[in-house]
C-alpha cells in the first residue's frame, strides 16, 4: 500500500513505480527459474470485498485476496497479459513516454499478445494497478478523456523536453488540458486560496470570462462530467500539497451530486487505489434546496433519476446529514435543475450572487 504524502515528489514516485514493476518481474522470474508455475496474489476486487472505510472516507478493498497462477489453464492467458502489461508499462515509465488505454490495446498486438477487446486490456491494467497499488497514470497509461484547469498556478514540467520549464495556468483563456504532462508536473507557486470544480464546459468558460479566478482568488477545474482519475488525483494534490479548499459545483440532480461525491469519496471501481479522493472537498451546489430557494427553472425527475436517488440514499458515502437532507428534498420536490438555470436571472447572476453565497455557506 502506498504511503500517503502531502508534498509532491513526482520523481520519487516514478522511481517507486519502476521498482514495483521490476520487483514483480523478479518475483515471477524466480518462480519460473526454480521450476514453479509462477503466481501472483492481489486483493480481490469483487463486490463483496469492497467496503466503505469511514476512517479513510473512501471505498477500500477488504482482506479477501485472489491468486492468479500460470498453472491454471483459465488464468495463464490473463497472467501472461499481466506480465506483458507490467513489462510494457515499465518500458513506458522508464522511457518517460505516455500511452493511452487504446494505445495499450494496440501495442499488445506487436508482441503477439492480442487482447480480445479494449475491455479485456482495461481489466488487465486494473489488475496491474491492484497488484502494485498505484494507479495507471503512475505508469504512464492515461485514459482518452481530458478535462481542463485555469487559474493562477505556476507549474514546472517534469516530462522530457519540457523538464524545468514553467507555465502559469492562466496563460490560455480556454484553460489548460489536464493531461499526462500537467499531471506529472510540480507546483511552483500560486496566489489562489481555493479550488472551484465545475461540471460543465459552458459554465467553466463563463467563469473565466467573468474573472471568477480573480474575483474569488480561485483555481478553476473543469471536470467535464464525471471527473477522470487524473483530474481527481490532481485536485487531491491541489488540496493536499497547496492546502487549498475545494468547492464543487454540479447540476442539481442525482448525477451531478454523484460527480461531486466521487471526487470527495472515490468510486467503488477504484477501491484498489488511494490518492484519488479529496475527502475535504465540498459539494457547493446546485442543491435541491437551492432549486427551492432560488426558484430555479426545473425539469421533472424521471424514473431513473428517482431510482438513482433511492440507491444513493442507502450508499454509505451519503450518510452525512447534508446529503441525506438534499436527497430527501429532491424526492420531495421531484424536480431537477441544471447549472445554466441561473441564466434566467441574467448571465452574471450566478457569479455575482449565487457563487459568493454558496462559497460562504459551504466554507
Amino acid at each position: 500500500m502506498p504511503r500517503r504524502r502531502y508534498k509532491s515528489s513526482i520523481i520519487e514516485r516514478r522511481k517507486e513505480v519502476l521498482t514495483g514493476l521490476e520487483n514483480l518481474g523478479v518475483r515471477i522470474y524466480e518462480q519460473l527459474d526454480r521450476g514453479y508455475f509462477p503466481s501472483i496474489e492481489m486483493p480481490s476486487r469483487s463486490t463483496e470485498n469492497i467496503y466503505y472505510d469511514p476512517q479513510v472516507r473512501q471505498f477500500i478493498l477488504g482482506d479477501k485476496r485472489v491468486r492468479r497462477s500460470a498453472r491454471n489453464i483459465r488464468h495463464i492467458r490473463p497472467f501472461t497479459q499481466l506480465v506483458w502489461t507490467a513489462f510494457f508499462s515499465h518500458e513506458l515509465a522508464s522511457q518517460r513516454k505516455t500511452s493511452t488505454l487504446r494505445d495499450v490495446y494496440y501495442s499488445a498486438q506487436a508482441y503477439e499478445m492480442s487482447f480480445k477487446d479494449q475491455q479485456e486490456s482495461n481489466n488487465i491494467i486494473t489488475d496491474l494497478e491492484t497488484v502494485l497499488g498505484s494507479s495507471r497514470e503512475d505508469f504512464n497509461i492515461f485514459p482518452e478523456e481530458r478535462s481542463a484547469i485555469f487559474g493562477d498556478l505556476t507549474i514546472e514540467y517534469t516530462v522530457p523536453d519540457y523538464e524545468g520549464r514553467t507555465l502559469n495556468l492562466t496563460s490560455h483563456p480556454d484553460g489548460v488540458m489536464i493531461g499526462p504532462a500537467l499531471t506529472s508536473s510540480e507546483f511552483v507557486k500560486t496566489t489562489a486560496d481555493k479550488v472551484i470544480a465545475i461540471e460543465k464546459g459552458g459554465l467553466f468558460t463563463r467563469f473565466i470570462e467573468e474573472n471568477v479566478h480573480k474575483k474569488f482568488n480561485a483555481i478553476l477545474v473543469l471536470t467535464a462530467g464525471q471527473a477522470p482519475r487524473a483530474t481527481r488525483h490532481f485536485v487531491r494534490r491541489l488540496n493536499r500539497e497547496l492546502n487549498l479548499p475545494v468547492y464543487i459545483f454540479t447540476d442539481g440532480d442525482p448525477w451531478g451530486m454523484h460527480i461531486a461525491m466521487v471526487m470527495i469519496s472515490g468510486s467503488a471501481n477504484a477501491a484498489h487505489l488511494r490518492e484519488l479522493a479529496t475527502p475535504d472537498a465540498k459539494w457547493s451546489g446546485v442543491w435541491a434546496t437551492d432549486i427551492v430557494n432560488y426558484k430555479l427553472p426545473t425539469d421533472p425527475l424521471d424514473e431513473v433519476d428517482v431510482k438513482r436517488l433511492y440507491e444513493l440514499q442507502k450508499d454509505p458515502r451519503y450518510k452525512d446529514p447534508l446529503w441525506q437532507r438534499e436527497i430527501k428534498m429532491f424526492l420531495k420536490i421531484r424536480r431537477k435543475a441544471e447549472q445554466e438555470a441561473f441564466s434566467r436571472y441574467g448571465l452574471t447572476y450566478i457569479v455575482d450572487k449565487y457563487l459568493p453565497a454558496k462559497l460562504e455557506e459551504t466554507k
Binding site: E22, I28, L32, V83, W84, Y111
Partner: protein, 505 residues
Amino acid sequence: MVQTTFEEISAADFFYRNRDIAGFTNPSRAIFAAVRELVENSLDAAESLKMPPDIYVRLSFEGEAGKESQIYRLRVEDNGIGVPPRHIPSAFGQVLFGSKYKLKQQRGTFGLGGKMAILYGQITTHQPACIISSTGASKAYMYKLMIDIQRNRPLILDRKVRINKEQWRGTIVEFCLEGDYFRAMPKILEYFKQTAMVNPYANLTFVDPKGRLYKFTSVTKEMPDPPKETLPHPYGVDVELLQRLIQVTPYKNMLEFLRHHFHRVGEITARKFLEFSNISPSKNPKKLSHGEIVRLMRMLKRFREFLPPDAGCLSPVGEELLRVGILKELKPEFVAVHQRKPSTYAGHPFIIEVGIAYGGEIPKKGSFLIYRFANRIPLLYDEASDVSVKVINSMNWRRYKVTPDMPIAVSVHICSTKVPYKTVGKEFIADRPEVKREVANGLREVARRLQRFLTRREHVDRERKRLGIFSKYLPKIAQFSAQLAGKEKQPDIKKLLRSVEKFAA
C-alpha cells in the same frame, strides 16, 4: 401372385407383361436393374466356390433408341463356378428354371438372376444374348440364344466349343438393351460403391459408355461362409409352397412328409403336431384336398411347439468384413460395427448387422448418410420408407452426443432366407416389430461406441488445446519477466512444459 399364375401363362410371358415389378420400369431403372442382376449372379457364382469374386462390367453405346433412351451393350464377366454346358440354354433362356423347393439366403430379387435382364434386352432390341461359360474344364462353350416368350423355352441360334487351354473358369454374358445410362449413372455408381462396401473381398471393375473406368479393389481375402440351403420352417409356409412340396415329395405318409420337408421338425415334433391338428400320421400327403391343405397351413402356424428356426443357414457379412468394407469405401475416421444374434420373424431366421462411421471423408450433409443392405446387396430406392430409416429417425441421438450435422454414415444389413420386403419392388424393408427391435438394439450398441470415441477424442482435443495454451504462454511469461527483472538469461521453462505434458498423456 407370381406363382399362382405360373400354370396359366408361361413365366417368361408373365414377366414380359409385368416387367415393372422386376424393376424394369423405365429406361433408367432398367439399365440399373440389368447391371445389378448380372453382378449379383456373378457374385453368387464366385462365392459358391469360396473364391473372391472378380467381376468386370462394361456398358458400351450402340445407338440411339428413342428420345430419352439409347441402346447399350452390356457385358459382364466373372470368375465364378461356371455353368455346365448342357444347362447353359435353360439357365439363361428359360425363366424360373432351376427353382428349388428349398430355402436359401440369396441375392437376386426374384432368384431370376440375369434372365429377366436378358428377356428385357430381347424385348427392347430383338437381338440374341451371347453366353460364354466354362467350369474350368478343358472346354469353354459359347451360346447365342433368344427366349421363346410364349413357350418359355430357349432358342439356340448358335453354339461354339472352344479349347480352354488356360483352364479359364467363369461366365461371360453379353447382350443389348435399351436404357438411359446418364440418368441411371449416379445409382449405378452408388450401387458399385455400396456393393464393394459389403463385399470387400470382391474386385469390381466397371467401364461406362464414355470409357470411364471405375475400379473397386478388394482389400481382403477373407470371405463369409456361403449360405446353406435349408428347409422351410413350418411357421413360414404358405399354401402354394405346401402344394409344390406335395407335388414333388417321394414320401407316402404325413409323418415322413413333415420330417423331411420342414426345418427343425423331427419325429417327436411331427407326431405332436399331427396329434394337435388331428391328422393321421399315415395319411398320404398327395391325397390331401385343397381344403385340407389350407387347414394344414393354418395349423402349422398355430402350433406353438415347433423349435425356432436355426440361423446356421444364414451368411451375414460378419463384423470384421463389414468394418473393412466401410473403411475401404467411406474412409471414415472412426467405425463401429455390430452383429446382432440371430432372430426370427414369422418362421424366417434373420440377422441384423449395423455399422456406424464417423468423420474422415464422410461429408457433412445436415443428416446421416444411410446405407441399407439386404442379403449383401445394396438397397438404393425408397429410402424414406425403410424400417432402418424409421428407427434412425426415432432414436434420441443426442443421448449419444450425436447431432445430425455431424459427418456420420449408418449402415444396416439384414440377411434372411426371406427378407421382409414391404412391396414387390423389393427396395425397402417392412417395419416388422422383430426386425425393428433388432435394428434399434444394434444401432444403440454402435451409437454407444461412437459416443465413447467422441468423448475420448474430445478429451484428447481438450488436452492438446491445453498443452497448446501452456506452450504458447509460458515462453512469453519467461520472456517478459526476464526483461522486466533485467535478466540476461531467460528462465528454463522446459521442465514446466514437460509437467503439463504428463497430464496430457
